[in-house]
Amino acid sequence: MNAIELNGVSKRYDGFLLDNVSFSLPRGAILGLVGENGAGKSTTIKLIMNAIRRDGGTIRVMGEDNTTPGFQTVKEDIGIVLDEAYFPEVLNAMQVGNVMKQTYRRWDDGVYQNHLQLLDIPKKKVFREFSRGMKMKLAIAVALSHAPKLLILDEATSGLDPMVRDEILTLFNDFTRDEEHSILLSSHIVSDLEKVCDYIAFLHKGKLVLCEEKDRLLEEYAIIKTSQSALDQLPVDTIISTKSGAYGVEALVRRERLPHGMQTEFTTLETIILFLAKGGDRA
């Protein structure tokens, strides 16, 4: 059972095309959407919420087609955090809670108070005076307090300091202790995604380059640093993309195709993504 399912989804803007994107987020998992600024991450999230009109394809959320009237009820199950938190400027956290109590049927004030405490959000300060970090934390506290089954977060960790980011990632980790709970989060901070995600979907210039299990990616690909002549001796289908410098060459390779005993570099998701993006440009 999938929490989110995109099938051949397209959206055209002037000078931008989200091109035939298909991927799914299995229930109980965390999927990270990576991509450069303007890759189509926010567009994808807006399409999932049916906040903008699509030009093609179908999207199902919690099993429900998101263009049907039934999607309204599904929204109760979704906690959403966009890259900017918008709450009325003159309200404080307590008052925001009161508004939400009237908005969501399953609002739980106890949980909300708990999260305010846990995330160190001031209760009496008005929203206008919040720092960016506080605003995001408040938005996340709100999203978690109406008993959601699916969290959708757009750039929720960007612009926050490492300590706060880690607190938030821990919250996400704990949220998915329940196998009915799923998370879709977009970010360009790949290391954050590497810490929590089960799956990684990589958007590049409006196209889905890959959607794979995170640990498989790390197993499948490796970075090697060597000389051009040594690289030329490897079977052609080993090498995915290369970057040459003055004194040698770096290459993204398929780990299983490498000759036994060949030294690989410490490979992170970020380097893999960078190489795939650059390779994609050349192809």
Partner: protein, 127 residues
């Protein structure tokens, strides 16, 4: 039971879990019938992917170290020492063949290898 996931290790994460759980079972830290943490619980406690943890459990189950009771959880299986011994013998044999493959590069004959091994055994026993 300790499970240490190292990012610096060359082994994939699922293999690290596999090896450490297998060792815990073989060394008796976990005994037959013990309830193991659920896949999701272990994944979240170690802060690793659920899918990866499931893969480790699947392999452990396939190799007979644990069994699953639907709706209840995973338990440590009865040790089948015969199969384990068989596996280890096979592993020893593979190492020996590997030695033999490497030997010609150093111009070592079978005799040399046996002599060298005798010396090593002596050294090890004297410790």
């Amino acid at each position: 039971m300790n499970i240490i996931i190292s990012n610096a290790s060359n082994l994939p994460i699922y293999e690290q879990i596999y090896a450490q759980m297998k060792n815990a079972i073989l060394l008796g830290d976990l005994s037959e019938g013990d309830l193991l943490p659920s896949i999701r619980q272990l994944a979240k406690d170690l802060r690793i992917s659920v899918i990866t943890t499931k893969r480790a459990y699947d392999e452990l189950e396939r190799d007979g170290y644990l069994y699953t009771v639907a709706g209840k959880g995973c338990y440590v299986a009865a040790k089948n020492t015969g199969i384990i011994r068989e596996g280890q013998l096979k592993e020893i044999e593979e190492h020996m063949r590997e030695i033999l493959r490497l030997a010609p590069a150093c111009e070592l004959t079978g005799e040399d290898l046996i002599e060298q091994f005798r010396v090593i055994i002596q050294e090890e026993y004297q410790k």
